[in-house]
Subunit: 480 residues, 2 copies
C-alpha cells in the first residue's frame, strides 16, 4: 500500500536534518503526540510500553540493591524549597508555581516538584532518629516539572517522567559508596538493556547538581556527534542534613548529621536510544525494551494453513517468554515490512506457503536486514540467538560510533580543527581545574565540559587552555 | 522489648474511636507519614509496596482486557477544561491552579489535572479519524489533585495516586459494554485480590460524575458501618466527542461522533482494606497485596542451627513464589510478634530448636491466631493452603459484616429506628426516582443514596419517602 511507503519516505534522512529526523521518528513511530500544554507531551502506547520496560528492568536492579519505593507529594511549599541555599538558587528560576487552590489564593506558593530532595529531607527528619534507622534507601517513580524554554519530546520537556533515588547514611563512606554503586547500576543498565555504551565521569564544579558536593554522570554519544547526559548520581555530604536539622544518635548516643545521595534517570533515555540506534527507516529498538521483540507477517495469507501456522508460531514463541506481534491484518506485506521497520521491531518473521512446505520461516533482522532461513524445529533457540546477536551488533555499532567520534586534542587550535575535520563528538583534553579555562574552551570552541571520566588518560602535562600544569583529562562535547 | 508492646497498646480500640483507630494503624504500621504540604501524604515503603501489588494485579487485568497504558500531561489549560460544560462545573471549584512558571506570569492558568477526560479528548481528536482507529482502550497510572478541605490518609487527600481508564468506541453499545466490563473487573479484583466484597450499582442522577450520562460504582462496607466507594465506571455517550469535535469516518465514509467511557480506582482502596480487615492489633492484609505473605521468627535463635534453618526455610518458600520476611534481628520474639501483627502479615512462622528436632515449625494465622504445627516436608503446600483458607476467612468475615449491617426499610421512620438500633450500615429502601425524595431521605435520616444496585430486589411498590409508585431499590448509607 502506498500509504505506508509514502509515510516511510516522509522521514527526513539523518544527514539532511538530524533534528527533523528525530522528530519524524518520534511522531511517525507513534511514540508521542503533541499536547495543548506547551512543552508537555502525550506519551502514546508504543512509547509508554518502552518506558514500562525500562521501569521494570531498572526497578528490579534497584530492589536487588536494597532500595524501596515510596511516594512523596508533588508540591513543595516555597519555604521548604528555600531551606538549602544552593538548591533553591539552582531550581527556583525554573519551577511552576501553584498560587490558587479550590478557588482561593494560597497563603504560601507551592511549587510543582522539579526534584524532591527537600521533601525527602523533611520526611527523614521525621523518621530518622537513631543509627538503627539508617540507612534509608528510597526511590520514587513520578513526574517532575521544570519550566524549560525550548523543549523536544523525551530530550527536554516541561514535565517528564523519571525515577529519583534518595538515600541517607550514617557515614560519608557509605554515602559515597552508594553514589558510585548507582552510577554503575545506570551504566550497566545502559549497556545491558539499552545496548548503549556510556562514559562514566564526574561533573566539574560549575556543572554540579544544585546542593551537591559531587555529581557523577553517564554520558552517551549520539549519531550526530552530540553528547547525551543519560543519568546522574549525586553525593550531598551532610549539607542537606545540616540545612534541615536531620540528626541521629549513634551507638554512643552522640548526635550526628547523616550523609545523603540522590540519583536519577528520565524518559530522556528513550531519546537516547532513538539517537543511538535509529536509522533512516525509523527506530531500531534494543530487544529488552522493545514492546514487540518480533513481528510475524504471514505471506500469501489467503492460502490455506498460513494464518494458522503463523498463530501457532506466535503461541510457541510467547510461551518461550518472547513479546510477539502477529499482524494478520489485510494490509500488504510490503506495508507491514515498512511499518515494523519504522517501529524498530528487532526481528521480522515471514511465514508463507512455500516456507511451511519446507518446515521453515524467514527471519529478517531490523538492524542490518540480514535474512535467515530458520527451521520451525528449534525456532525458539534460533530466535533467542538472533536476538543476542542483534543486541551485540547494535551495542557494537553504538560503541564504534562513540570511538569514531572521540578525539584527543592538545590545544585549543587542535580542538577547533578536529571539530572542523570530524564534526561533533567527544574531545578528550587536559584541564587545569580552573573554571575560567573551562568557560574559555566553551567560548572559543563551542564544546563544554561533559565530565571528568573515571577512567583517566594522561594526554599531556598541561591544560589545553592556559598551558599551566593539568592533571585532569576532561571529555568535552556539544550536549543535548 | 517494652518499646513495641507500648506501641501496640497505643492503638486506640475500634469501638472507642474508629477514626483514631484508623489513623493509629496508618501511622504505626508505617503506611504513611504526614508531609508539610497540607492534605498531601508521604506514602512510606510498606504502604507503597501494597500499592505496587495492587497496580501489578490490576494492570494485568487491564492488559488482559486489551487496554494499553499511556501518559498525558499533568496540566490542563483553563480553556481546555472549560470545553465540556458539566465537566468544568463539577471540577473547577476544587482544582489547584498554576499561574506562574519560570518566574513569569502565565498568559493562561493551568490546572493540575483532577482527572484527564479533557486531555484524552484532545488527543483522540488528533489520532481518531476513521473507523479503523477505533476503539482506543487507554489507561494511565498517575497522581491527580483535588483541593479537598478535609483530608484523611488514603481516604481523601489533595493529591492521590490512581489509574484512570479512558476509552473511545464506534458505537454506544460497545461503550456501554466497556463501562460494564470494567465495573466487573473492579468488583472481581476487590473480591479476589483485596478479599473485599462490594455491591455493584449505578449512581443516581445527582451523584453522577461531572459530564457522564451514567456512572456505575462499587460500594464496600467498612467495620464501622460506613460505605466506601471503591471504584467508578462512567459512560459518556457522545457528549465529550461533541464538545471536543471528535469525529470519525465510518465504513460508508459518513462522519460520526464516537462514544466514550472512563473508569478509575485510587489509593483509597488501601483505606478500604484497612477498614475491611483490620482489628485492634493492627492491619490484616489480604495475601495477594501483602508485601510479606509470611514472616519467619526464629525462637531461641542463639541455639545452634536455628538461624540456619530459618534461612533455609525462607529460601525454600521464596522459591515457591512467596514473599517472605525473615526477622533475625536481636529484638525479642514477643516484640516481633506484635510488630508483624501490627503490620498485618498473614502468616507467622516460628522456628525453634525443639521444632527443628521434630522436623516441623509453628504457623500462626494473623486473622484468628490459629496455630498449626507444620512439617518441614511439604511446607510449601501447607503454607499455600493456609493462605487460601486465610483469604477465604477474611473475605467471609467482611461479607458477614456487610450482611449484618444491611437492612431493608419501608419507611423513613423504619430507617431512623433501624439506624438507632443497629448503628450505621446499608439501608435498602425503595425510591421513586425523584431527586427531592433523595434529598429528603438524607435530611431526615442522615443516609445518602449510595447506588441503585444492579441486583435489584422488590421490597415494596412505593417510595420510602413520598409513598408514590417506586421501581428502584436503592442502597443508602453514610459514606467516606
Amino acid at each position: 500500500m502506498s500509504g505506508k511507503e509514502k509515510m516511510v519516505s516522509e522521514i527526513t534522512p539523518m544527514d539532511v536534518d538530524f533534528a527533523q529526523w528525530y522528530t519524524d521518528i518520534v511522531l511517525k513511530a507513534e511514540l508521542t503526540d503533541y499536547s495543548g500544554v506547551k512543552g508537555c507531551m502525550v506519551i502514546r502506547p508504543y512509547g509508554y510500553a518502552i518506558w514500562e520496560l525500562i521501569q521494570k528492568e531498572m526497578d528490579a536492579r534497584f530492589k536487588a540493591t536494597g532500595h524501596q519505593n515510596v511516594y512523596m507529594p508533588m508540591f513543595i511549599p516555597e519555604s521548604l524549597l528555600e531551606k538549602e541555599k544552593d538548591h533553591v538558587e539552582g531550581f527556583a528560576p525554573e519551577v511552576a508555581w501553584v498560587t490558587e487552590g479550590g478557588a482561593e489564593k494560597l497563603a504560601e506558593r507551592l511549587c510543582v516538584r522539579p526534584t524532591s530532595e527537600t521533601l525527602f529531607c523533611e520526611h527523614y527528619k521525621s523518621v530518622v532518629h537513631s543509627w538503627r534507622d539508617l540507612p534509608k534507601l528510597y526511590n520514587q517513580w513520578c513526574s517532575v516539572v521544570r519550566w524549560e524554554k525550548t523543549t523536544r519530546p523525551f530530550l527536554r520537556t516541561r514535565e517528564f517522567l523519571w525515577q529519583e533515588g534518595h538515600t541517607i547514611h550514617a557515614t560519608p563512606e557509605e554515602a559515597t559508596e552508594e553514589t558510585e554503586r548507582m552510577l554503575n547500576v545506570y551504566a550497566d543498565f545502559c549497556r545491558d538493556v539499552l545496548c548503549m555504551p556510556v562514559v562514566k565521569g564526574r561533573k566539574t564544579e560549575s556543572d554540579k547538581f544544585a546542593g551537591a558536593e559531587a555529581t557523577y554522570c553517564i554520558e552517551a554519544m549520539m549519531h550526530d556527534g552530540k553528547a547525551l547526559q543519560a543519568g546522574t548520581s549525586h553525593y550531598f555530604g551532610d549539607g542537606f542534613a545540616r540545612a534541615f536539622g536531620i540528626q541521629y544518635a549513634d551507638k554512643n548516643n552522640t548526635l550526628r548529621y547523616p550523609y545523603q545521595t540522590s540519583w536519577g534517570t528520565t524518559t530522556r533515555l528513550i531519546g537516547g536510544l532513538i539517537m543511538s540506534h535509529g536509522d533512516n527507516d525509523g527506530l531500531v529498538l534494543p530487544p529488552r525494551v522493545a514492546p514487540y521483540q518480533l513481528v510475524i507477517v504471514p505471506i500469501a495469507a489467503h492460502k490455506p494453513g498460513v494464518n494458522e501456522k503463523a498463530a501457532e508460531i506466535k503461541d510457541r514463541l510467547e510461551k518461550a517468554g518472547l513479546r510477539v506481534l502477529l499482524d494478520d491484518s489485510d494490509n500488504s506485506p510490503g506495508w507491514k515490512f515498512a511499518q515494523y521497520e519504522m517501529k524498530g521491531v528487532p526481528l521480522r518473521v515471514e511465514i508463507g506457503p512455500r516456507d511451511i512446505e519446507n518446515g521453515q520461516c524467514v527471519i529478517v533482522r531490523r538492524d542490518n536486514r540480514e535474512k535467515t532461513f530458520a527451521a520451525f524445529d528449534g525456532l525458539e533457540d534460533t530466535v533467542a540467538s538472533l536476538l543476542d546477536a542483534y543486541s551485540d551488533a547494535i551495542y557494537n555499532a553504538a560503541l564504534a560510533n562513540m570511538e569514531k567520534r572521540t578525539h584527543a586534542c592538545l590545544s585549543i587550535d587542535e580542538i577547533k580543527s578536529c571539530i572542523e575535520t570530524n564534526g561533533d563528538g567527544f574531545i578528550k583534553a587536559m584541564w587545569c581545574g580552573d573554571e575560567e579555562c573551562e568557560k574559555k574552551v566553551k567560548e572559543l570552541t563551542g564544546v563544554g565540559s561533559r565530565c571528568i571520566p573515571l577512567a583517566q588518560e594522561h594526554l599531556s602535562d598541561t591544560c589545553v587552555c592556559c598551558g599551566k600544569p593539568a592533571d585532569k583529562m576532561v571529555y568535552w562535547a556539544v550536549a543535548y
